[in-house]
């Protein structure tokens, strides 16, 4: 009951002195705003990377055999980069050798890509597209589906037919208001017949999944993508999660044999998995999490000092009130509690404003297409931290108030 009375007194204080309260709380507000904001950025990116990005780029239970890592989020040293450049290229011979060695239930695809200029009868010079030469199982591995027409067939792969499956942005760009099916798309001067339009997949961290066109690896597409020189990667999908490491070991052994590497020599290729991509992301996440801890901490420490200061002023201003309350029977702990509740209420109020601000940051970033998700735990943490800061900042002023001599306090002006 008295607890509620103390909260009411504190809220009255905030209502009467809106501007002063705001400035008092600005540290806590900013601290909590950063906390919510940074956590929402980390969570949002995390979701994007783990579910969207890694899933779409690499696929489930999948690894890529590549010359060098494709996803380099961490830092790569100059020496590392040069040693990668000296590595032998991945060829289609490697790819077919791997295919031959794989267990029956594993999936396999060649994938190579190059950004090229395109043309159609309806658009002479449109935006460049990402041309990809793939074998048909690629679509199964990546879970790519069509909204119109069909995907590439094994027959088209075997015969090397010049057909393409295109993304929605390509369809809109080169066949505006037309049904692209059966029409011709020219890539670097070579004609391809459109046989399918993929479902919209959207953008992820700057990569536009809808600006791709896929043709059979054996078709003229391998010329368009320069796949006669080398190929970007061989995609292998294990039948299930448990088999993934076995299949990886098998492929690694095969590649080492083909490259005639001695035991003890390092691999001169990479088997890139979602995990290895995540390892790079984890490094970035650590930095973000550190920032997410450091920035709010600075804000909250400053906030605590300001609140303590304001509470000391409040105790001084209300010395007489404290005297009156003591004369009327308030014990030390009653006075202490009154000021503690007041500083905590103030601080929690600031935390609530900060949470609102954090939602604002998160919402604004979403507006400009940056993925953010406000984590429920960060809201709870903010309220708890707000209360904690209030108690911490209020303790010393509250103790000073509680220890006041009622006679002296009553006499003060």
């Amino acid at each position: 009951m008295r607890f509620l009375d103390a909260i009411r007194v504190a809220l009255d204080q905030i209502r009467v002195q809106k501007l002063k309260s705001f400035f008092t709380l600005i540290g806590v507000i900013i601290g909590v705003m950063f906390l919510i904001g940074v956590v929402s950025i980390v969570e949002g990116l995390n979701h994007k990377i783990e579910v969207d990005f890694a899933g779409k780029f690499l696929g489930v239970n999948t690894f890529n055999v590549r010359r060098m890592p494709n996803i380099n989020v961490g830092d790569v040293t100059e020496a590392e980069w040069r040693s990668w450049q000296r590595r032998p290229k991945i060829t289609k011979e490697d790819a077919y050798a791997i295919k031959a060695a794989l267990p029956e239930d594993a999936r396999w695809a060649i994938q190579d890509a190059r950004t090229v200029n395109a043309q159609s009868d309806y658009k002479r010079a449109g935006a460049p597209v990402l041309a990809e030469a793939v074998t048909p199982e690629y679509f199964t591995i990546k879970d790519i589906t069509v909204s119109k027409g069909r995907l590439l067939t094994e027959q088209e792969e075997a015969l090397g037919t010049n057909v393409v499956v295109i993304g929605t942005d390509v369809a809109d760009e080169y066949f505006p208001n037309l049904d692209p099916l059966g029409r011709t798309l020219r890539l670097e001067g070579t004609e391809f017949r459109v046989i399918g339009v993929m479902d919209k997949q959207g953008k992820s961290l700057g990569f536009n999944f809808d600006n791709q066109v896929f043709g059979p690896f054996n078709s003229a597409m391998h010329l368009v993508t320069y796949s006669f020189r080398d190929i970007a990667g061989i995609v292998v999908q294990a039948p299930n999660e448990n088999a993934l490491s076995d299949v990886q070991a098998q492929v690694r052994e095969l590649m080492r044999r083909r490259r005639r590497l001695h035991p003890g020599d390092p691999d001169n290729f990479v088997l890139e998995t979602t995990q290895s991509a995540f390892a790079a992301w984890d490094k970035v996440k650590q930095v973000l999490v550190l920032a997410g801890i450091a920035l709010p901490t600075i804000g909250l420490v400053v906030g605590a000092i300001v609140i303590m200061n304001i509470m000391l002023v409040a105790v001084a201003e209300r010395t007489r009130e404290i005297g009156i309350r003591k004369a009327l029977g308030a014990r030390r702990r009653d006075i202490r509690r009154q000021f503690l509740v007041e500083s905590s209420t103030l601080s929690v109020f600031g935390a609530l404003l900060g949470i609102a601000g954090g939602f604002g940051i998160s919402g604004f970033l979403r507006l400009v297409d940056f993925p953010t998700t406000v984590a429920p735990w960060s809201i709870l943490l903010s309220v708890a931290v707000g209360g904690g800061v209030g108690v911490l900042a209020g303790t010393y002023p509250a103790m000073r108030a509680a220890r006041l001599d009622p006679i002296v306090a009553l006499r003060s002006e």
Partner: protein, 264 residues
């Protein structure tokens, strides 16, 4: 009629001497205040100031006593001690049968809450709270539930004829009204003594009379009233006047006009 012992609200000198001389014994219940040789020394930067040098006072339930004295006589110190805002350096102070001179801070707070109703010269109302909330305050610290608090505070305000001013803040009330709110607040916990410190010091003469009539009514109703004042005009209203000089009781006399007056 031979003595005034039959007069409720007055004690005789011999009775008072009897009760203040038995050191260590709890006085009987009819004595609401008994002090035995209380002293109060202050350390003023190495120099000890003796504000009280052994004060024996006994006040019976229902008495209406004025404590007088020039400034520096120790009357403020005595008031603080009687009001349990301070404890004596030596001596005993019994309030309503309890030895309060040995109590700690929190126990004193409890005693102030239950046994003493303060009325101050400067009213000492909380400026941001309305009259009702001000009167409720002692009940808040007594742990009385909100609904009962409101009811009792409203009753107390009705007794001082302020039922229609309950939701006014102190700055919306006149001086006399403020002091009546303070009186209602002092009485709301049904204390053993009403302790008034220069209750009319900030009021004009008309309002002073009005406040003194309130005290008169309370005293006639059986409330023990102790009033600290330096104004003889105000002290005149009390049945008995204790005068302090240099930290000692210099006189303790019933007011002549009340001597021999019968009850009723």
């Amino acid at each position: 009629m031979s003595t005034f012992t039959s007069e409720p609200g007055l004690s005789t000198t011999s009775e008072r001497q009897a009760v203040t001389s038995v050191v260590g014994a709890a006085p009987s219940k009819e004595w609401v205040i008994v002090t035995r040789g209380i002293t109060r020394d202050y350390d003023m930067g190495g120099e000890v100031v003796h504000a009280l040098r052994g004060v024996d006072i006994a006040i019976r339930r229902n008495e209406y006593v004025a404590i007088m004295g020039p400034s520096g006589s120790g009357k403020s110190t005595l008031m603080n001690l009687i009001g349990c805002l301070d404890t004596p350096s030596a001596g005993e102070y019994w309030l309503n049968g309890e030895l309060v001179s040995r109590m700690g801070d929190d126990e004193l707070a409890h005693v102030r809450n239950r046994e003493i109703g303060f009325v101050f010269q400067t009213f000492n109302l909380l400026p941001r709270a309305n009259a009702l909330a001000n009167v409720e305050l002692p009940l808040v610290y007594a742990g009385v539930p909100a609904s009962e608090r409101k009811r009792r505070a409203a009753e107390a305000l009705e007794k001082v004829q302020l039922a229609d001013r309950m939701d006014h803040r102190p700055n919306e009330l006149s001086g006399g009204q403020r002091q009546r709110v303070a009186i209602a607040r002092a009485l709301v916990n049904d204390p053993a003594i009403l302790l008034a410190d220069e209750p009319t010091g900030n009021l004009d003469s008309t309002t002073s009379d009005e406040i003194m009539r309130v005290f008169e009514t309370l005293a006639n109703g059986g409330q023990t009233v102790i009033m600290v004042t330096h104004e003889p005009d105000i002290a005149r209203h009390a049945r008995r006047v204790v005068t302090l000089r240099d930290g000692r009781v210099s006189s303790d006399e019933p007011q002549a006009k009340f001597v021999g007056r019968t009850a009723g």
